[in-house]
């Protein structure tokens, strides 16, 4: 009798486990669970992946990328795309660097078109003052938002295809960033600034707080404001939105401006961490950004997206690249592994969608 009892419990346990597995697969937060399983699996082989230092690494890698993906999310929800985010990062990082730096080597920077106008061997007129950091950051945010605004105007006003507009502005603004410094990177940024990238309150890094605020604000905007509803409406059907009195042009412009703003935030975090202003900052990051958004579940065709999805997508990508950094693989296998994992994740997601569809019909 007791044996049967145990047997029944076992069967019950097994059935329950299956049910849980199924629920996880069907859950909206599937990507999160996938990341956790991935992490857990790796932990068995590489315990140091869960070491405090590495968790800190993962954390510090996640937040700036998340800022970018959040910006991209707004544009994707509108049914657009923003390829210019990386060039916005480069441009703002250069401008912020120029305003804040305390020392510029004349041998390197004398060729810059701004030399003598704004720049000198002691940096800019702002440099060294108390206001350097706050004003520098403000300028970065302002420039990022303005570039986004220009993108948005071109897309909304002139009905130009978003892909081309942002591709051209990627060319232009990354070219501009390189032109402004004539290829040189800017060093000697004030401590107050670089600490954003390395310091924190106790154990919590500053970048976390910055992106936390950004994320919560984005969530509030999308979920709890008129504007947020308008974003989704425009992404689902521009024509219906127009007829329903949504100021579609304004909404689109705001979307791109937000994307630019978020890129500037990411730029602040990245260049603070690297302690330098770089005209090539994030040059090859674009596919990671869009990839993370799409893996997270944000649709490229508009109308769908959530802050949490962005977070999960970023978590997945960062975990993946972090794990690859710890394996002693030859360099050429890395892309193969990366590509395979992306395909696998996508495949699981498709299976999940199919199961979900069946769930509804049955």
């Amino acid at each position: 009798m007791a044996g049967a009892q145990v047997h029944r419990v076992l069967v019950f346990g097994w059935g329950k486990a299956l049910a849980v597995a199924r629920r996880i697969l069907l859950s909206e937060n599937f990507v999160l669970y996938l990341s956790l399983v991935f992490f857990g699996g790796l932990y068995l082989f590489m315990p140091y992946i869960a070491g405090g230092r590495n968790l800190a690494n993962i954390s510090s890698n996640m937040w700036p990328l998340l800022a970018l993906v959040l910006g991209q999310m707004f544009v994707l929800i509108l049914g657009g795309i923003d390829l210019s985010q990386t060039s916005i990062m480069a441009l703002t990082s250069v401008i912020g660097g120029m305003l804040m730096t305390t020392r510029l080597d004349p041998a390197l920077f004398a060729k810059s078109p701004l030399w003598g106008l704004l720049l000198s061997a002691d940096g800019s007129p702002l440099s060294g003052t108390v206001l350097a950091v706050p004003l520098g950051i403000a300028a970065m945010l302002l420039v990022g938002t303005s570039v986004g605004l220009v993108n948005g105007l071109a897309v909304a006003r002139f009905r130009m295809p978003a892909f081309m507009v942002t591709l051209v502005s990627m060319m232009f603004f990354s070219g501009l960033a390189i032109y402004l410094t004539k290829s040189e990177n800017i060093m000697y940024l004030p401590d107050g600034y670089t600490r954003i990238g390395s310091g924190g309150i106790g154990l919590v890094p500053w970048s976390f707080f910055v992106v936390l605020v950004l994320g919560i604000t984005s969530h509030l905007v999308l979920k709890h404001t008129v504007l947020g509803r308008w974003f989704f409406a425009v992404g689902k059907s521009v024509r219906t939105a127009v007829v329903s009195g949504v100021p579609t042009e304004r909404v689109i412009v705001i979307g791109y401006a937000l994307s630019g703003f978020c890129a500037a935030v990411a730029s602040i975090l990245y260049s603070a961490r690297l302690a330098g202003g770089r005209p090539t900052l994030g040059q090859n990051l674009l596919l990671d950004v869009i990839g993370a958004a799409v893996i997270g579940g944000i649709s490229l065709f508009g109308g769908k997206g959530k802050v949490l999805w962005a977070l999960f997508g970023v978590l997945f990508f960062v975990l993946l690249s972090n794990a690859l950094s710890m394996l002693a693989l030859p360099f050429y296998t890395e892309p193969v592994v990366k590509g395979s994992v992306i395909l696998l994740a996508a495949l699981l997601d498709v299976t999940r969608t199919r199961l979900l569809a069946r769930e509804v019909i049955v």
């Binding site: 405090g52 690494n57 290829s183 919590v204 990245y270 690297l274 770089r278 994030g282 950094s325």
Partner: protein, 341 residues
């Protein structure tokens, strides 16, 4: 379900956030010595050869290698180095994206007490201790172009020089362009204004733009490529125009470059190329590894030493005595006659 979701998220976030940098200790694993080798990219032969030399030396010493390609992204390289440190590597070698990011990355290694060696691109300043082996790109290209200028003077007329400029986001490319310009500007009587051809370190772009530039300026008599890996493109454009001629033949275009790779060696030997600025790759790799392994063995955490690779210009004039100082010639010799086409 909803509660479970939030618990999960909360768990992950707190884990990530609270795991401070301080609470970890290096994990030495099974006692195996591990070195992280992080490079910016492997797109030209110079980097490929360097990569090969370093990997082989390390392997021969039974050291486990974690190699990482940053794909030309300084931030990604920083993340990779941090991950490697977290894994508990015993030493680090980087080919940084540029001198400025090298400073930050060296700082990370210093903080963690892992000895670090910087290959070929020196940190922008010496504020953080590291083992550094440097080649002065500017000087090397100056030397090569100086020799080319001497050859040009022999033509006895004003000469139009052309330079294939690398990616303007790459500090080496910028330094090499500067070296070239310095020589051109020193000889205003000899040179017309230089024709600049952007390549973005991309063979296709280089070839297309070079072809266009030569159409516009058919009278170019001197071509300098910022990296030897573009010689095949120079040849592909010059040959149909009847300008791919050996030295001494009429219509020869004075050719020079920087790196000293296999093709440069071959074509110097055959007499097409006049001069090439050489970074002594093998010596650089050797010196750096020696110093790093020494530091690792003696338990030094932040060793500091700057090693200069003076570099030199291998020219048709000094080829007889110095050819074997150029790594490309060594590779050519290894390949033997079979490798030559």
């Amino acid at each position: 379900m909803n509660a479970a979701k939030w618990v999960c998220i909360l768990f992950v976030t707190t884990a990530l956030v609270l795991a401070g940098p301080s609470c970890s200790r290096r994990d030495d694993g099974d006692g195996q010595v591990t070195v992280c080798f992080a490079f910016q990219d492997l797109e030209t032969e110079f980097w490929v050869a360097a990569h090969k030399a370093i990997i082989e030396t390390l392997k021969s010493k039974g050291i486990q290698i974690i190699e990482r390609n940053a794909n030309e992204d300084a931030n990604r390289q920083l993340e990779q180095i941090r991950a490697a440190i977290a894994r508990g590597v015993d030493g680090i070698i980087i080919i940084p994206q540029d001198g400025e990011s090298a400073v930050t990355i060296v700082g990370e290694a210093n903080k963690a007490g892992v000895p670090i060696g910087v290959f070929n691109r020196p940190p922008a300043n010496r504020s953080k201790p590291a083992l550094v082996v440097v080649a002065d790109n500017l000087k090397i290209s100056e030397q090569a172009v100086t020799y080319m200028a001497e050859q040009a003077r022999k033509l006895g007329r004003k000469v139009t020089p052309l330079i294939l400029v690398g990616d303007l986001g790459d500090s080496n490319a910028v330094a090499r362009r500067q070296g070239f310009m310095n020589v051109i500007q020193k000889n205003p009587d000899l040179f017309n204004e230089a024709v600049e051809v952007p390549t973005k370190w991309d063979a296709v772009t280089a070839q297309a733009n070079l072809e266009a530039a030569l159409q516009r300026n058919p009278n170019v008599d001197l071509v300098f490529t910022s990296s030897d890996f573009l010689y095949p493109q120079v040849r592909a454009v010059l040959e149909p125009l009847g300008k791919w001629k050996k030295i001494g033949e009429p219509g020869h275009v004075i050719l020079g470059g920087v790196d000293g790779d296999l093709r440069a060696a071959r074509w110097m030997k055959e007499g097409y190329v006049d001069a090439t600025g050489v970074q002594d790759l093998f010596v650089e790799a050797d010196e750096l590894l020696k110093a790093l392994l020494e530091a690792m063995n003696s338990g030094q955490k932040t060793p500091e030493r700057w090693m200069e690779d003076p570099g030199f210009a291998l020219t048709q004039a000094n080829m007889a005595e110095r050819a074997m100082d150029m790594w490309g010639f060594k590779l050519l010799a290894e390949q033997g006659p079979a490798g030559a086409q």
